[in-house]
């Protein structure tokens, strides 16, 4: 197809021919085109189907406010739905498809909705799909969703990458039209750090779309010259294709830069988009204004555009929506469209203006209103009613509509701004409390002339910088257009029975607003939700005021009294990928590796994610085909001889200071003041509400030095809590904390031969015999001929056991040394599964038992909570319900005639019904015990201590499983602890 609707001039590069397809059909355009301008140049006006009625639609705008021309751009996994053709930069090889139409855009089956539109008015879904109730989830909702969606996702993984970045500036200028450019220039010349951001790929705003001269040169040339000067400053950052989409607290802005969307076919490897967080000391909103449509019958046909958009297509892109055009306007600005298009050789059939004082030109001006249009897939004619009552039909392909201009106030409302009505321009302007440090200039502030924009930008920059103590001077302003706003408000035309669209995107008409009012929805926020007016990506940009005006008329109030709904971020849609940035897949969170990780990999270990950590789960050996074989072997080896396990992931906090012992006395429920140097003690940490927070050990290395350990999962929260206690509750204590989790590599060496193994690597001057270094001993030692180490005689497995720590950089060496030294004892590396088996057999609580619901008494540790001192949580853990004698107790359970005993099962008395009111507790942790040769578990059960030997039912009523189990002591092995002390 040829570009039949291409005019002369324009800011496109005719030397560069770009080929693209739309719905499989090939077209061509030029560099500088948007997809919409290129399609219009090829005579294509039909670009989409509306959301609800599937009405044929074309673009109404030339900017990001576009509600109609939404398409799927790209192929395969890269397809992006709901892309606005009016801002999509054309590139060679672009493929676009229409959406919300089947089988084709011209012949859409669901166009039937349009015929039944009388039934699909406001609140249709609420009223119709009420009964029968059961139908909603299974039938109505899926059917509605299928019919109503717009674009479709590719359902494939996003192949592109996205970045995040941070920027700081003195002045952020949002929008690079005349006011933004002048503001940036003023600030740049004053030496301020300036960011100028504009959503367009070409800066200049309306200067590129108008024929006004600035100081004797074209607006576009003035913009180009000004940008060249701005680019010469090191302190200025010019950001094209960058939408500032949200204004957040304290001068923080969100912006998305489309870095390489337009470069994709070139194989550009940069991130597709970058999400910027901009910290601006001051900001100046120069976001311009959006032209509003007028409600009249069938005002949504392809070929009907904002008058300003029609003009922008002609001036910037050298394109017209049709070769015979008319304009319907209530203000002088609309007449400029006729002037500019006529200058490009487009036939202006007439300008229709209801005002008596309409300006005259070299074309026919009809005093009257448009009352109907024709042309289902594209405008063919408009019907005009003159003020003298005469009706006339004009054969045209394009209609420009101007109902006046609305300042783009969105960003002023993202905090506490509430727009104010200005009668002289019949529009809302920024009002209320603006985001901190924000000022508004140009059309966004209601200054709708070019001169007003230039002046506002310069003055706004001077004032913003003055507040920062930077002295700036407004440049001399070029001579520019300064026409006053001349308009008579016209929101909709009364005549005509056909629908008059207010919100094109959500298919809301004047009639819908009237119906909502009739049904009692008079608050604007209710009106919005009932009719969906201004919802979704429109956020009121096009539709808001039209709806308010109709509502105001119906309620007999002024528009100012009616008020406006809120504009919320984002200003335009932001891709989820941009918000996620690099935090996807395996990079969603950091991966932490233990010091023995690479060694374990070489042994063929199977790993498991534990929070951010990767831990060895078990070490399969040749011939082992099931994980249980490996785990049983590892657990038995520990009990028989000796095993080694990397326990570096446990949290470690170094506590130092004269008052360190008093500090531990406060954070632990049990006493620490009297712990001797060289000794370690188990500590139970409660939350202030009496629930167990964590447990671990504290080793006293010196009078004023402890090392505290936490569980892996709670390393962060416990450290935060300890700092809270130190800084907020006891700032008088002399105590310092530092997390040393990553500083020390730590291994458990457990089993009857643990000491013999360690004696081979501990330097001979350190005596670790049972007498010299008994159970719960701790010491700073050296190993392997002088390497610093810490040794703790503590046991999680119930065997003779130690934990040995060396500075992290020696961690990988230490595991190799331990394995070599242990060869004569058949030392066995064991993973987290065997670790779990060993601790369940011993009856040690872990994360499953410390689940945020259990008190000291539940754990069987009520007597550990010292009454002789004050400690966190001690008072409230004694509350009646948390400490009752017949409450839950941690017990052991052995399966009876069953090869499973599933954790999570609930416990019931034998023969009792399995109901919440008969529930007596639950199993927290379970495993197969190779030592006992049967499944065992830990769990909480009411009055557990008095019920040893009783048989109960462990049931999962959801899955229908039920197993018999005997209540036993939670210490399945060595309840007296003889092995520990051996």
């Amino acid at each position: 197809m040829t570009q039949s609707n291409r005019l002369n001039g324009g800011q496109i590069d005719r030397a560069q021919l770009l080929r693209f397809t739309f719905d499989g059909q090939s077209y061509s355009g030029h560099a500088g085109d948007t997809l919409a301008s290129a399609l219009l140049s090829n005579g294509v006006r039909l670009m989409g189907r509306s959301f609800k009625y599937h009405r044929p639609r074309g673009p109404i705008s030339a900017g990001s406010e576009e509600p109609n021309a939404l398409m799927m751009i790209g192929d395969g996994a890269r397809v992006e739905p709901n892309t606005r053709a009016t801002v999509a930069e054309l590139y060679d090889g672009l493929t676009a498809k229409s959406q919300n139409a089947w089988p084709s855009l011209k012949l859409d089956a669901l166009g039937i909705n349009d015929v039944f539109s009388n039934f699909l008015t406001a609140g249709f879904y609420y009223k119709t799909f009420m009964w029968p109730r059961a139908f909603w989830e299974k039938f109505y909702e899926p059917a509605i969703r299928k019919a109503a969606g717009l674009g479709r996702l590719s359902m494939q993984e996003d192949p592109d990458c996205y970045d995040k970045g941070f920027l700081h500036c003195d002045l952020l200028v949002i929008g690079a039209g005349p006011s933004g450019l002048m503001a940036a220039l003023t600030a740049a010349r004053a030496g301020a750090r300036v960011i100028l951001a504009d959503e367009d790929f070409r800066m200049g705003g309306r200067l590129n779309a108008e024929t006004h001269e600035l100081g004797g040169q074209s607006g576009a040339d003035w913009a180009t010259a000004t940008l060249a000067e701005l680019a010469s400053f090191d302190t200025v950052r010019l950001m094209t294709r960058t939408t500032v989409f949200g204004a957040y607290d304290h001068g923080v802005f969100g912006a998305v830069e489309r870095v390489s969307d337009h470069l994709r076919p070139t194989g550009d490897t940069r991130p597709r988009q970058t999400l910027w967080r901009i910290y601006a000391r001051r900001s100046l909103l120069c976001a311009g204004a959006t032209e509003r449509m007028v409600g009249f019958a069938n005002n949504d046909r392809p070929g009907i555009l904002q008058a300003g958009a029609l003009r922008a297509y002609a001036n910037r892109w050298a394109v017209t929506a049709g070769l015979r055009v008319t304009v319907f306007t209530n203000n002088d600005d609309g007449h400029r469209t006729a002037r500019d298009l006529a200058a490009k050789g487009v036939e202006i059939v007439a300008v229709i203006d209801p005002r008596a004082e309409a300006p005259q030109g070299d074309w026919r001006v009809i005093r009257g209103q448009v009352v109907d249009t024709k042309g289902r897939l594209g405008l063919k004619s408009v019907t005009v009613r003159g003020h003298d009552g005469r009706q006339e039909v004009l054969q045209v392909e394009g209609l420009g509509v101007s109902g006046g201009w609305n300042p783009n106030v969105s960003l002023t409302c993202h905090q506490r701004g509430r727009p104010e009505w200005r009668e002289d321009i019949a529009a809302f302007v920024p009002g209320g409390t603006l985001p901190v440090g924000m000022a508004v200039a140009g059309a966004a502030a209601g200054d709708l002339s070019t001169h007003g924009a230039l002046r506002g930008g310069a003055e706004g920059a001077v004032a913003s910088l003055e507040a920062l103590g930077i002295s700036a001077k407004a440049p001399e302003l070029p001579e520019a257009e300064d026409a006053p706003v001349q308009q008579t408000p016209l929101w909709y035309v009364g005549e005509g029975k056909a629908r008059k669209w207010i919100d094109f995107q959500n298919d809301v008409t004047v009639k819908d607003v009237k119906l909502a009012h009739q049904e009692g929805f008079v608050s604007v926020e209710h009106l919005k939700r009932y009719t969906t007016l201004g919802m979704a990506t429109d956020q009121g940009k096009n539709s808001n005021l039209g709806g308010l005006a109709v509502m105001a008329e119906l309620t007999g109030q002024t528009i100012a009294q009616t008020g406006t709904t809120m504009f919320r971020p984002p200003y335009t849609p932001v891709a989820m990928g941009a918000l996620a940035g690099r935090s996807v897949g395996k990079d969603f969170k950091p991966t932490r590796l233990t010091p023995s990780h690479h060694w374990a990999e070489k042994q063929g270990a199977v790993f498991v994610e534990v929070g951010q950590w990767m831990r060895a789960q078990w070490f399969p050996q040749l011939g082992e085909t099931h994980w249980r074989q490996s785990v049983d072997r590892e657990a038995l080896a520990v009990r028989k001889s000796v095993g080694v396990c990397d326990v570096t992931t446990l949290g470690k906090v170094d506590v130092q200071g004269r008052d360190a012992a008093e500090f531990l006395n406060l954070i632990y429920a049990n006493g620490f003041a009297k712990l001797a140097v060289g000794k370690t003690r188990y500590g139970l940490m409660l939350r202030e509400d009496g629930i167990a927070m964590d447990d671990g050990t504290a080793a006293r290395l010196a009078e004023d030095h402890f090392v505290v350990t936490t569980t892996t999962a709670n390393a962060g929260p416990v450290y935060r809590h300890m700092e809270f206690v130190r800084q907020c509750l006891r700032p008088d204590l002399d105590v310092q904390l530092i997390s040393t989790t990553d500083s020390w590599a730590q291994y458990a060496v457990a089993g009857p031969n643990a000491r013999k193994l360690l004696q081979k690597i501990v330097d001979p001057e350190f005596d670790i015999s049972n007498e010299a270094f008994p159970f719960m001993g701790c010491a700073e030692i050296t190993v392997c001929g002088g390497t610093r180490a810490r040794l703790f005689r503590i046991s999680f497995s119930g065997e003779l056991a130690y934990e040995i720590a060396v500075p992290t950089r020696y961690g990988e060496s230490l595991i190799e040394v331990l394995m070599a030294a242990g060869e004569e004892f058949d030392v066995t590396p064991y993973g987290t599964e065997a670790l779990g088996v060993l601790r369940i057999e011993k009856g040690h609580a872990a994360g499953n038992e410390l689940n945020g619901q259990t008190s000291a008494a539940h754990l069987g540790m009520a007597r550990m909570v010292s009454t002789k001192k004050d400690s966190i949580g001690a008072v409230l853990t004694r509350r009646e319900e948390l400490s009752r004698e017949d409450g839950l107790r941690l017990m052991g359970f052995e399966a009876i005639d069953s090869d499973t005993l599933p954790a999570g099962s609930h416990l019931f008395a034998e023969g009792a019904a399995h109901r919440p009111e008969t529930d007596q507790g639950w199993l927290t942790s379970a495993c197969y015990s190779p030592h006992l040769g049967k499944p065992i578990a830990l769990g909480y059960i009411k009055q557990g201590g008095e019920r040893i030997g009783e048989v109960v039912t462990a049931a999962n009523p959801v899955e229908g499983t039920s197993v018999k189990a005997r209540i036993v002591s939670p210490h399945f092995i060595d309840p007296e602890g003889a092995r520990l002390r051996d």
Binding site: H250, D689, Q727, L729, V875, L876, R878
Partner: protein, 95 residues
């Protein structure tokens, strides 16, 4: 939000974790008479003001200071940020 850290200057609120009402600084004496009641009030009874609120923030991704931040819950305006340690020490002095 930006929090004016008394030592480090303006820092993004993302670097902090939030705890809640600064009244948590006034922990009752666990050994005193009526401690149970006092702890109940301390732990569960909070004001929920629409306006000025003193609250605890932890600079977890920073210098690990606990701060008492005075913030307006309606406008998010922050009028003061102090080291919780200093606030707590001053309160102890009053007692």
């Amino acid at each position: 939000m930006l929090i004016p850290h008394p030592i480090l200057g303006l820092r993004d609120a993302q670097e902090f974790t939030y705890l809640g009402d600064a009244s948590l600084l006034d922990r009752p004496d666990g050994m005193a008479e009526g401690a149970s009641e006092a702890f109940h009030d301390y732990l569960y009874l909070r004001d929920n003001p629409a306006g000025e609120h003193r609250e605890l923030w932890f600079h977890e991704q920073g210098d690990r200071s606990w701060l008492v931040v005075t913030r307006n819950t309606l406008t998010h305006e922050i009028t003061k940020a102090e080291l919780a340690r200093d606030v707590a020490l001053a309160r102890r002095g009053v007692k």
